[in-house]
């Protein structure tokens, strides 16, 4: 498709994203695997953009992973989500911002279900009242955290200390953008740019100086598949999906992968390690992997945050090749430090995958 055509499609799928006063709900995967990303998101929102963003200490999982692996019934999940809405109402907020794509997709699915089946909403209101005595208002605006960063991508670019440009060649970095399936595949009009040509990450990459790679398996799932990863016997599904993407993107020699779903960066990172150890195949330069980042990590790097404050050390694929290309300074000796410089050892090196 010609570029103008794509731009037309993107313009057809613009969504309303609230400007301020957000109620933030965290991600189970991100808290466990990429906690630095949520820290960076709040730092950007509060310190760089001066926004009011609130987290209620009593919010919990939305149960989405349990729901999509089919052990938690839909009624239960809807009522847990209704409880999150109740906490938002109680705190005086109307704009809900989930950190997680599974949560975002689920909140969207539930609100749409209630629109088409109003008795389901009434049923859930009764369930929640009976279980907790709570009432709730539905959010006026629902936006994923990546939507919010997309909205303020120009403000971030204005404050940027670095650009996504190779300092040695002067060329834009070649970036693979990977969108979580539940961002817009279920409800295309709820995502910036829709499902076929989502622009939420592409917009950030372009604004911050990089160049987005269009490759055949761009929209293929990372392979989480919920029960397909959770149960060891099924993980062949998961690694095969990621491998399909790597094989498709490798011809374009990407400098990095940027993601907006909590699970995707974990799988695209870890399965590169597993493929390297199982088959001796690597997809980055010089026996290394292709570094995989969350959009908060990329935003943080652009803003000049310390890579180790962002948590890039908890990725299995080393990030240093990208840092070197952008010209970001870092102290290798501090990479695996604990709080306040406490020395806590460091991971062993893999057998095949080259790491720094």
């Amino acid at each position: 498709m010609i570029l103008e055509g794509k731009k037309q499609i993107w313009s057809d799928y613009q969504k309303e994203i609230a400007d301020d006063r957000y109620f933030y709900v965290r991600s189970c995967v991100r808290q466990n695997f990429f906690p630095g990303s949520e820290t960076a998101f709040l730092r950007i929102m509060q310190q760089e953009l001066g926004k009011d963003i609130y987290e209620h200490p009593h919010h919990t999982t939305c149960s989405g992973i349990g729901y999509h692996s089919d052990v938690v019934p839909f009624d239960t999940t809807m009522t847990i989500v209704a409880r999150q809405f109740s906490l938002m109402t109680e705190a005086g907020y109307k704009n809900l911002v989930p950190s997680c794509i599974t949560s975002f997709g689920l909140y969207t699915e539930i609100l749409e279900t209630w629109k088409h089946f109003p008795h389901e909403e009434e049923k859930v209101r009764n369930y929640l009242r009976k279980a907790t005595g709570r009432e709730f208002e539905k959010p006026e605006n629902l936006a994923h955290a990546s939507d919010v960063i997309f909205k303020f991508r120009k403000e971030i670019a204005f404050k940027a200390k670095h650009k996504l440009i190779n300092q040695q060649t002067g060329e834009p970095l070649k970036v693979v953008e990977h969108i979580g399936c539940h961002y817009a595949k279920m409800f295309p009009d709820k995502g910036v740019g829709g499902a076929e040509y989502p622009y939420v990450l592409a917009g950030m990459v372009e604004e911050w100086g990089g160049e987005v790679i269009d490759y055949p398996e761009r929209r293929h799932c990372c392979g989480f598949g919920f029960r397909q990863y959770l149960v060891q016997a099924n993980r062949g599904y998961s690694i095969a999906c990621s491998q399909k993407k790597f094989e498709s993107m490798k011809l374009y020699k990407p400098d990095l992968i940027i993601t907006n779903c909590p699970g995707c960066p974990m799988f695209l990172d870890r399965w590169q390690y597993a493929i390297a150890e199982m088959e001796g195949v690597t997809y980055g330069e010089n026996g290394m992997g292709i570094p995989v980042f969350t959009y908060e990590e990329v935003a943080g790097l652009v803003l000049g945050y310390d890579p180790w404050d962002l948590g890039l050390q908890v990725h299995q694929v080393s990030c240093e090749p990208v840092l070197d290309k952008i010209g970001i300074e870092y102290d290798p000796e501090k990479k695996y430090d604990g709080p306040y410089g406490k020395k806590i050892g460091k991971p062993e090196l893999p057998f095949n995958l080259k790491c720094c």
Partner: protein, 237 residues
């Protein structure tokens, strides 16, 4: 005719997921599971729309309904607005309610999911909980996770977490009154009954297979069996 179909029709996801399948196969073409498993979502949508209980019962006992990854790519592309992924979700729910899930290798795995993610939700308020994600069960997580697992408080707090602390923040301790509300929600909405149903049928199957199954935890022969067994008959050649 119709008894199981009628039960499916009580699930809004089934009603929303199945309008009228024209057997075009677009869902199968886009489906990640269909590239890996012997799996054809088109066939499933077509089978259920015949409203034939014998065929639906066979599906509920089959391996095939457990192959989907619920990525919902099928939703985007179906020219008739069907969502095979939602049909699958409703079939899986009914399979567990009726106890048919233990008749397939992939279906039996539901107990492993219930004993891990399912219980972490109620015990901790999170679907995943780092100290339960053991490197020996997750070799693919690599040496970085192995290192992290030995230093969870230091790694998390270095990255701005409030690990097991009070108040807001990453991996905070979810207050007991919130966990109590989650449990009450499970009790009122059928979540607790659903967990007990998975346990009940799994216990019978474990006895049938002669494998030991403890009442709690994952240290049982049966859990080890369902978590790791793969008879290698599921994939495309």
């Amino acid at each position: 005719m119709g008894k199981l179909y009628d039960k499916l029709m009580t699930d809004v996801r089934f009603r929303e997921g199945l309008k009228a399948c024209i057997n075009c196969g677009t869902c199968t073409a886009i489906c990640p599971a269909a590239t890996f498993y012997n799996y054809d979502p088109r066939q499933i949508a077509d089978t259920v729309q015949w409203n034939d209980d014998a065929q639906i019962e066979a599906l509920l006992k089959s391996e095939t309904i457990w192959y989907c990854g619920e990525c919902m790519s099928c939703k985007t592309r179906c020219p008739r607005g069907n969502t095979p992924g939602l049909i699958i979700a409703s079939l899986r729910t009914l399979s567990q309610k009726e106890g048919y899930f233990v008749e397939s290798e992939k279906g039996r795995q539901q107990l492993a999911v219930k004993r891990t993610v399912g219980e972490w939700i109620l015990d901790y308020g999170y679907c995943l909980y780092a100290e339960k994600i053991l490197p020996e069960m997750h070799p693919e997580q690599g040496p970085v996770w192995e290192w992290e697992s030995k230093h969870l408080p230091d790694v998390f707090n270095r990255l701005g977490a409030n690990y097991k602390g009070n108040g807001p923040g990453i991996l905070r301790k979810i207050p007991q009154e919130s966990l109590d509300e989650l449990k009450a929600i499970f009790d009122v909405t059928g979540g607790t009954d659903f967990y007990e149903t998975i346990e009940k049928y799994s216990s019978v199957k474990a006895q049938e297979l002669g494998l030991e199954l403890k009442e709690k935890g994952i240290e049982s022969e049966y859990i080890g069996h369902i978590y790791t067994t793969n008879n290698q008959s599921h994939n495309k050649a």
